[in-house]
């Protein structure tokens, strides 16, 4: 498998207004010295304590912000801005409320200048992929949270990106919907062979979905460890979460993460 994404010594420093002193700025390091690669077709999950710069990492991949130092490479070339070879799925769905489910899926295709007829066929196809064909002409406010996120995933898949970037996409959903969407996502991944970078704060979710789990440290975010999760096929196993392998992997991630969570908590008590 070839290298798809590479973080090469990436740091990101934000300038923030100082809350104590007027007209002063202070520097805030969101992520520091990130080095890792994602292979073509790999499913990588990133897990870390809250405020560890997971979203910063994803924004850099999406080309929405630029690293202060270092480079983020896609297929060996540095990312200069957003592009349709990367699709982003947000936690709060970000569906356009004035467009129907179908029109939302067409949106990215419009940006890609796909002709109208083909656009509609494609959108229907991806709506079917996420099992929402009957809801084509519903507006987002007429859909449940799970359905909205399905539409958002279909929208990102429809313009056929090489990489899918997902920012805690299932965090706002109830437990049952989340589990079924996780399963569907795995099926979609096996079917479409996309490279997926999936950010989450749930250990179970990270272990269940990821071929590898990247554990991040608390602020400033760096890579604490990378854990291989070696299941043959996630979709064919019955109840994956109850297997001994799952428990072992879960415990590994938990151990790494709990040190960091404690550190964050300690820091927060200091600042208060």
């Amino acid at each position: 498998m070839s290298e798809k994404i590479k973080f090469d010594g990436v740091s990101k420093v934000f300038r923030l207004r100082d809350s104590q002193k007027k007209n002063a700025t202070r520097e805030f390091t969101a992520v520091k010295d990130l080095n890792f690669t994602v292979k073509d077709g790999e499913f990588l999950t990133v897990v870390g304590p809250s405020g560890c710069g997971k979203s910063t990492l994803l924004d850099m991949l999406g080309g929405l912000i630029k690293p202060t130092t270092g480079r983020v490479l896609l297929n060996g070339t540095p990312i200069e801005g957003p592009g349709l070879e990367r699709g982003v799925v947000f936690q709060q769905y970000a569906l356009f409320p004035w467009k129907t489910a179908l029109a939302n899926i067409e949106f990215g295709l419009e940006a890609k200048k796909v002709p109208k007829k083909e656009r509609q066929e494609k959108a229907q196809e991806y709506l079917a992929l996420v099992g929402l064909s009957e809801f084509a002409y519903r507006y987002p406010h007429e859909l449940s949270g799970g359905m909205k996120q399905r539409v958002a995933i279909a929208r990102s898949l429809a313009y056929d990106p090489e990489v899918l970037l997902m920012d805690e996409p299932f965090a706002a959903l109830d437990a049952q919907t989340r589990e079924s969407l996780q399963e569907e996502l795995l099926q979609i991944w096996e079917k479409t062979k996309k490279t997926i970078v999936f950010i989450t704060h749930g250990i179970d979710e990270a272990v269940y979905l990821g071929q590898r789990v990247a554990v991040m440290t608390s602020r400033p975010g760096t890579l604490k460890g990378m854990i291989d999760i070696s299941f043959d096929s996630r979709t064919e196993e019955g109840d994956l979460r109850s297997t001994p392998e799952f428990t072992v992997a879960r415990h590994q991630v938990w151990t790494l993460l709990s040190e960091e969570v404690n550190k964050t908590r300690y820091k927060e008590t200091l600042t208060v």
């Binding site: 999406g62 080309g63 929405l64 801005g81 957003p82 592009g83 349709l84 990367r86 699709g87 982003v88 947000f90 709060q92 970000a94 356009f96 409320p97 004035w98 467009k99 949106f107 990215g108 419009e110 940006a111 507006y139 987002p140 406010h141 313009y159």
Partner: protein, 272 residues
């Protein structure tokens, strides 16, 4: 032509009321009961001497005068003069305020430049400037259309600016992640997302176009409903004066209904 259009709408709804089932009739009755009570008081109070019948003739007499004015075509002359002015000022205000508001809302530099003067003018009562308009533009049609334009401008501008500035940042982020150019972002995301709030501005402007119109016509005009009201008062045609007032109320009501239904139509996608 425009006046015919406005009249056509209540006729249609009145027709459909007759074929609607009992519950709708009950609802209509609930809405009408206080108005009916008001009408009864208006009819009875002058007759039993509670108020002077010279200054407040019974409703029936006012209605008789009203029908006489409609039959003779006098009222229509004034009505059409008024509505032409109001419509012209209103449309011109829309043509100026919406593009300008979109610019001010979207470009921070334009916003910084314009917001002090906006603050100044939005707090200046339009009618306070009527003498200035008459001085500069004379007492003809121009000054009346201009004052209506001026009065309509502010609700339109402020709502348009607000609409643009309050577009969900996540939608903008999402569109940017799909590599939309800033022009595409503007007309595919910013404008559709702003439509409902802009329509609130249009509705408010519609109301103030009527309010300012009447006041402007009371000061130096040869026709129009405002002129008609002050003229009949001078000539002690009190029943006719009330007939003019009723016409204005109905005109305002109709315009508002029309704009509300337009607003609903364009905001269909919003959750109720």
């Amino acid at each position: 032509m425009n006046s015919e259009k406005t009249i056509a709408i209540p006729m249609k709804s009145a027709q459909s009321v007759f074929v609607l089932p009992f519950r709708t009739l009950k609802n209509a009755f609930k809405k009408m009961i206080i108005i009916l009570l008001f009408a009864v008081i208006w009819e009875v109070a002058p007759r039993i001497g509670l108020v002077d019948a010279i200054f407040l003739p019974p409703l029936s007499e006012v209605l008789v005068a009203w029908f006489e004015l409609i039959r003779s075509g006098d009222l229509f002359t004034h009505f059409s003069a008024s509505i032409t002015r109001s419509f012209l000022g209103f449309i011109l205000a829309i043509a100026i305020a919406i593009p300008l508001g979109l610019m001010i809302g979207w470009y921070p530099i334009v916003h910084e430049l314009f917001s002090p003067i906006l603050e100044l003018f939005r707090n200046t009562a339009a009618l306070a400037l009527l003498p200035v308009f008459i001085l500069i533009l004379g007492i003809g049609e121009t000054s009346k259309v201009a004052i209506i334009l001026f009065a309509c401008l502010w609700p339109l501008l402020l709502n348009t600016i607000n609409a643009v500035r309050n577009v969900d940042p996540l939608l903008i982020k999402c569109a940017k992640s799909m590599n939309l150019t800033s022009f595409q972002l503007f007309y595919k995301v910013i404008i559709p997302a702003s439509v409902p709030t802009i329509f609130t501005g249009i509705r408010l402007a519609g109301t103030s176009s009527i309010l300012v119109l009447i006041a402007a016509e009371m000061v130096g005009a040869k026709e129009g409903l405002g002129f008609f009201i002050s003229y009949t008062q001078f000539n002690f045609q009190i029943a006719e004066m009330y007939a003019g007032i009723i016409t204005i109320s109905l005109l305002g009501l109709l315009l508002n209904q029309l704009l509300v239904s337009l607003e609903k139509r364009f905001s269909r996608w919003k959750s109720v």
